[in-house]
Symmetry: C2
Subunit: 111 residues, 2 copies
Amino acid sequence: MPAKEQDKATELKRSLGIAAFVGKSLSDENRLRILLSLCNGRKTVSTIVEEMNLSQPLVSHHLKELRRCLLVKVERKGLFVYYDIADERIIDIIRRLAHLATDLLSQRDTF
Amino acid sequence: MPAKEQDKATELKRSLGIAAFVGKSLSDENRLRILLSLCNGRKTVSTIVEEMNLSQPLVSHHLKELRRCLLVKVERKGLFVYYDIADERIIDIIRRLAHLATDLLSQRDTF
DNA sequence: TACTTAAATAAGTGAATATTGATATATTGA
DNA sequence: TCAATATATCAATATTCACTTATTTAAGTA
């Protein structure tokens, strides 16, 4: 393997710890739904609660988790707290993951 | 939103359950390491055990998990059991996740 | 001040999961 | 059939995590 590729590979390996940390957020359907619902612009917690049809503390819990791994930004405006996607790339990753997952599943169901 | 985009959006939403199921595999560093180590071709369990520096039952457990969400293929050849990536797209997803994760972290550490 | 609404936190529960050490199963060759 | 090697599974533990109900904090308003 050329030196540059080698470097990239080691760099990738080194980042797997933090990748798994962020990846944890992708392991829960409710969090995926929340992230996806934010991709059209920031929303207040209560809006998310309504849209998701989840209890307010549960949404708050998941938002905290998403904050922990830096996937969302927060901004308070008076009574309301607005959440927003911190980096749009996570949406692309979720799309790819969903696509792959359905493909894998359909392949299995084909026989 | 145009009808086609709308369709895509609903299709995406529908797949979030299975996406989260597969996403669970991306939430553990050891599984990410195993997947990445398989991207250069299939390997036996004992090879993986050596490379990962993990106990054999633990590797077996994670491989079972990866099998459960169809991310790896298995083939027995005599004494040895070979594991291989089922769909290369998972490697790309891991790369993107790792890249995003390091970026998010470095942005935070910048202040 | 008291009242209202929004959001976060506390505390508790049950289920899932990562890990370990011991054991079982499978395959091959002597 | 026995021994050796490879892999899977079992049992036990510890931890994490999603979720609930109740409570608290924060901010705005009358």
